[in-house]
Symmetry: D2
Subunit: 365 residues, 4 copies
Amino acid sequence: MPGNSFGQLFRITTWGESHGPALGVVVDGCPAGLKLSSSDIQRELDRRRPGQSEIVSPRNERDEVHILSGVFEKKTLGTPIALVIYNKDAQSKDYRNLKDIFRPGHADFTWESKYGHRDYRGGGRASARETIARVAAGAIARKILQEYAGIEIVGFTRQVGDIAADVGSFSLMSASALRRRVEANAVRCPDAKAAKKMEDFILKVKEEGDSIGGVVEVIAKGMPIGLGEPVFNKLPADLAYALMSLPAVKGFEIGDGFAAVKSKGSENNDVFEYANEKFSAKTNHAGGTLGGISSGLDLIVRIAIKPASSIKKEQETVTKQGEKTRISVEGRHDPCLCPRAVPIAEAMVALVLIDHWLRMKTSRL
Amino acid sequence: MPGNSFGQLFRITTWGESHGPALGVVVDGCPAGLKLSSSDIQRELDRRRPGQSEIVSPRNERDEVHILSGVFEKKTLGTPIALVIYNKDAQSKDYRNLKDIFRPGHADFTWESKYGHRDYRGGGRASARETIARVAAGAIARKILQEYAGIEIVGFTRQVGDIAADVGSFSLMSASALRRRVEANAVRCPDAKAAKKMEDFILKVKEEGDSIGGVVEVIAKGMPIGLGEPVFNKLPADLAYALMSLPAVKGFEIGDGFAAVKSKGSENNDVFEYANEKFSAKTNHAGGTLGGISSGLDLIVRIAIKPASSIKKEQETVTKQGEKTRISVEGRHDPCLCPRAVPIAEAMVALVLIDHWLRMKTSRL
Amino acid sequence: MPGNSFGQLFRITTWGESHGPALGVVVDGCPAGLKLSSSDIQRELDRRRPGQSEIVSPRNERDEVHILSGVFEKKTLGTPIALVIYNKDAQSKDYRNLKDIFRPGHADFTWESKYGHRDYRGGGRASARETIARVAAGAIARKILQEYAGIEIVGFTRQVGDIAADVGSFSLMSASALRRRVEANAVRCPDAKAAKKMEDFILKVKEEGDSIGGVVEVIAKGMPIGLGEPVFNKLPADLAYALMSLPAVKGFEIGDGFAAVKSKGSENNDVFEYANEKFSAKTNHAGGTLGGISSGLDLIVRIAIKPASSIKKEQETVTKQGEKTRISVEGRHDPCLCPRAVPIAEAMVALVLIDHWLRMKTSRL
Amino acid sequence: MPGNSFGQLFRITTWGESHGPALGVVVDGCPAGLKLSSSDIQRELDRRRPGQSEIVSPRNERDEVHILSGVFEKKTLGTPIALVIYNKDAQSKDYRNLKDIFRPGHADFTWESKYGHRDYRGGGRASARETIARVAAGAIARKILQEYAGIEIVGFTRQVGDIAADVGSFSLMSASALRRRVEANAVRCPDAKAAKKMEDFILKVKEEGDSIGGVVEVIAKGMPIGLGEPVFNKLPADLAYALMSLPAVKGFEIGDGFAAVKSKGSENNDVFEYANEKFSAKTNHAGGTLGGISSGLDLIVRIAIKPASSIKKEQETVTKQGEKTRISVEGRHDPCLCPRAVPIAEAMVALVLIDHWLRMKTSRL
């Protein structure tokens, strides 16, 4: 019930403040018998961590994961898997100047109002550093999905500011081919040309001490038919919930999404066809679900990410006492959140799918 | 855990097939002491029901609500409130021709695949008729929010196809003024000029045997500060979950939503100000939340609604056996879902807010 | 979260006041494909209803169940099954004299204090009439357990006041043989001799205008190995929770229960043996679980039931205003709750087992 | 849903294997603003740890708690509180001889059958060492109950084998007076005379290489009226669930419990009285609840604890392969679990009460 758990059958509970001793996650409900080592998890954390390129935050945190329970002789026990990432040098920086200031776009004001007490160091629990725990848990979900359900999840930066990728042929690529193109550049955009433009633009914005928004898309290939519960746990609802719970995400869509608004039923309906003993459809306007349940076509979702709130450029704001002041958020921030948001969004999609995949085992007698 | 309950502290469980004997909802967690009569609920059901105008389905269902428990001497007991709406003439129509056909855009195929057995009459539980239960439960949530929390929720049709309302001054209106303008026309669009165009366009589409999509916006005024839990139960996440669980909804956004993608941090951050012993902001790009917690500014969310899948226009499809066939979905369908989606979307927003309002009582010692 | 739902994967939500228009239950999570008709449920309700013999309440309620959703063409759909039992003549009796009196042993006082408003007619929601909903839902659980898991559940009256049944040979009987002996007398005690004594004693107590307590035992035969989760959802914990939530139940034990207190480890440990490719044990002090997980041996649980609080014998009490008064609870009450508690307790055991049986499908890869 | 979380609004998730790197718990839902330091928690862990006396396990584990999140500047943040206790020398002992043997009375057999893979070292997650996490979380619950709700919880050993404490006057003592008597001896029995006999008996049993059962009672004083939800979350049901989830617990009762079976309604009903503007009762057969809701009288519950399964005395058993063998469970085990079960049972009662205390804030408008 409190807000730090996610999932029903594959349930994660995350904890930790940005500048506290550690962050972590407990994964409860992971079935017994999965081969698992910390390197399976570290790989995904490395994709998320800062300092990977010029266009993301230059901090150099290693974010090393430790498995404290749930794995014995390299296989999961069916017991909770506790993962912890210790914060290094968390105490070194002095955040006392932020104690009494409400940074624009940040949770400082609402948090202070709600709880009457907050950890002002780097946003505390409201920091995006919290997503470490999600990526770590998501890595386990992903492994099961790949090895036991044949589902591959690939995310990428689809748009930065006005610059949109040309995604014409992505849907025809295999997951691994698409992933190779995604990981080939720092923006994580599979359209190499657009990626170059995005990168240049992000560097320019960074120089201005400003930030820019973008769109991240996640595709799941190899989807089974039947994931998703009718009514409230429709797959698109659970995915929206998962992705809108990420910091800085302001919008979600599945398939044609907002573009479907302008189309007619005769255009938007995906026409069924049957071949090789398999039902399919020529088009995928729906994005892989019908009535909230996966149809076997690729799952396609997108999120709108706002420009990062932490900018060097000076802004007006007020103190806790209501006095006007100006603030330049120093620190090593991301000028565009998209590149690092890709593995995070993938993790959230994985966490939704694993839950429905386990749940589906109980839908029929 | 199964997919037919919504909410944590104010928890609803809905049930019923489109053409079964009845539909209903159990509302568990409504505090004791609320004055409540069936007319409080009927009012909202009447806004949802078909047959209200030329541009919605012409069916004439009364959808009369009965309170079977939880209310005694006109006040809630703190026990579950069971509401039931009996289906009239449900058996009269013959749906046997749909037994073996997968209608494009509908859940027939995924449902059949998942469960191996389905009620093919009018979509069964996958029918949008299921939203009756949500509107009924939402009416109770709404009453508490209005009378005890001072929160007013107003929804409206913001766009139909290409026709967008001019919403410039809506944010300055009181909830009641805005609602009067919304309810003044059949499209439920507060911009009277745009409403006329929308209506004409919907009638044209209807004549073609086709359907058209649209955008519905919901605003909550009188928001307290502090609704929303950090991390997974962020207010935007719970709202996205609630609204994406509605049939035909393909996208969700809060505040500037997808438009924020193109803006810079220095433009998108809402600058705090302090006046009359109150913190506020000049702009509301965020749409009323910061870090997932309500800031006291108006809550503003939007959903993308696809064109209704049921159209008279003939479409290709396949039978359960995989044979090609053509289908014209007869019946009295909605050419545009927006007008009737307005009270439904409002109900879902109310259900999210009541839960967080109750929850907030436990956040501090 | 609110207190009217039970179960995780097979989740029931009950509603209804004793003298309101109806009582009911929504069963969410019943897998699709189960053959189900109202007679499957009615059979169990008939075992629970009053008026079956001299030693239970002489009221003559038919308690007829109606299935309002979830079943189509005689098979479950995988959607919520809504069951309703309308109250007959609920308004006929005048309970106004109880409006201001706190009956000893009843929930009148605590309910009034907690909610500030209560349905005083026959106890409202605190009435044992609420268990109708549990028995109805339990009948569905039971059917699945029998037909798909091979589990048979049999309960019986083991003790009334000082009179205990001789249960020596019950554990060796088949479920059906035991059930025949149980249903052969009004007390539902398989030891015919003790049953006669119990019946005579209950009639004597009834004549005195008093009531008497007892013990009900429930055995589940055909148990698979592996039901129960480690730590909090241990099978004994879930069973205790289920059975202690019944009105008038004051104690719970599994296997030797409180008698184990006096034994030594060397006596209490059940020694494993292996024969016919099956692990077993010579004794069953544990009552069918080890470490909270079913071992394949018979599950054996017992509950202590207090004497019914409603007695004709005059008792002292106070009014809502704090004035002393005397009360004789008129009405047609049960002098001993055990005979009717048997099907209710069986239902609760079934609801626990079905949940774990579904859950077990997700414990291994 | 998976079995390692407990509570709804004050929700704990425990993790860790007996011989893994660490054990821990995440406490989610602790309100902001509570003064909390590790010494508040350590105090309770010290009461639980082995090595305190001759009659408990002589192991010498320090079980030092570390707070990794949720507390800032000595006050809770409203965010998850992560507590960890590192296992010392966990690797040192060789448990390989237990890899293929099913110890009688232990979870080895059921766990192996359910998961196909288990941590055989000291029981892994099935070890009672897991209760460290419960005691740690319970210490926080307790602090809130004491400081904000005025509730004091005191547990004690009431019976060991045949030796029962004389508890005549305990109910009249203050919580602190009772606790002093409890902590005055190693058995934790407030009747000093009985305590001496119990101690002698336990030492004798220990010498025989055997173990003995007992009864632990927990009393909560200063109870508010109104804790507990009707129907499924009745206070006795939640308490039974909490306490029956502890290792080795085979029975639960509230108030007169199983003794109520032999009494009549006219004897068992607690007669209300009214004095000093307060409702009360002369007797407390019910044990502090009516209709599942706390009545303001002392809450009194008892659990039956079986003799520890680990005994030095040689027993017959079988190997994983089904071969007969004999086993003497070496190690430093508890000859009677009661003394150390006292703080554990208190912790579980605290966890139930805090949840209902938070929940009660939402029951009325």
